[in-house]
Symmetry: C2
Subunit: 192 residues, 2 copies
DNA sequence: CAAATTCTGAAACAATCATTTCAAAATTAA
DNA sequence: TTAATTTTGAAATGATTGTTTCAGAATTTG
């Protein structure tokens, strides 16, 4: 048998993700990646593949991480209405903390129009969030916390679309108050 | 005196815009541009400047064009409420027609986090739309077509954020019905 | 027409791009 | 320890990047 890998793959992917996140797919060079990952290119190609395959790893890593975060927080609420409120406010906080925007959204606009594979991954991620939200909404309706005639799937899409726009607004204006106001506005709009 | 330019600058910029729009800033090479513009690179550098300057031309061209379109349509309504409704539905139609998303939004995510010049241009464009919408909303409030306690600036931001998300959703799902439903939902949400 | 001036085309530029090569170092199991 | 196997580092790959060069074609004014 032979020696084992001298670097941690997960850590390497996380570092690569940081670079892709900041510079975008086309704006990132292999040198940027090997510098940040502190791996020689031959090792990189031998283990994680070429630039595109590495990018896929990063997308999967990112979406999985978010998914776990979402599931983790999902069970900590008794009232679905409260859970929805908290979800929206949390997204607003993430938007404000993330100066460079959401990696999935950036990738959706930069890469996925011309890359079906990446698009499929992002769609899957989007569908997951959509399911999470619409389930929450349906529960809220059942518990009479929301209007009976409310279309859960539609409202879920609406929420997702709205906070997508927050990212762009924050990139352009960097105004945390504005984002927070929009979040409370969205909550009040939905839950009355 | 000497000969005049052998190509139309506006047409050349429009062709360059098409390429940048489709491939993004970093995904576009100078060869892509000279091929599409049918101009030799020396002519390009002599007249419009380097890649970055050309990109600025494209952003300015795009935002100006949208601005004119907006102003042109603004005066064709008597009721501000009807104008708002029509604006939102029109945006939905644009989203559906544009398979590759809005150039300004794509650029906001790809370029402007690291390019203050481009960011300033996009912010200016965003502010213009914001002014346009908030003025319309204020008029609607004055004419009692909207709630008196409605914060015009906030609602304008909300509308802009929402339809930004439509672009992403359409890139991922390519479902026109979904976008139209979201548009009518937004309208009903606002104007009740 | 002629002289002046500017634009154009093709080639060349160095730099960087993603990727590959391969010998040597490193590690494992026997 | 030895033989087998894999990772690693540094260099080299050819292609492509953005940009420049410059001689000659083109066009305008006088």
């Amino acid at each position: 048998m032979a020696r084992t890998l001298a670097f941690n793959q997960h850590e390497a992917i996380e570092k690569a993700l940081d670079v892709f996140w900041q510079k975008g797919y086309h704006g990132t060079s292999m040198r940027d990646l090997t510098d940040a990952m502190q791996i020689n290119s031959s090792s990189l190609y031998n283990t994680l593949g070429d630039k595109h395959q590495l990018f896929i790893h990063c997308v999967k890593h990112y979406t999985l991480k978010r998914r776990l975060l979402l599931e983790q927080r999902a069970n900590s609420f008794k009232s679905p209405k409260k859970a929805l409120e908290s979800f929206i406010q949390d997204v607003a906080d993430v938007v404000i903390k993330d100066v460079q925007g959401c990696f999935a959204i950036k990738t959706a606009f930069e890469v996925s129009p011309e890359d079906k594979g990446i698009k499929a991954l992002l769609k899957e991620d989007n569908d997951y969030t959509h399911q999470f939200l619409s389930r929450l909404i349906r529960e809220a309706v059942r518990k009479d916390e929301l209007d009976q005639d409310c279309d859960a799937a539609l409202v879920a899409d609406h929420i997702i679309c709205t906070y997508t726009g927050w990212y762009e607004l924050y990139i352009l204006h960097q105004d945390p108050v504005k984002i927070k106001k929009l979040a409370t506005y969205l909550v009040r709009q939905l839950l009355r």
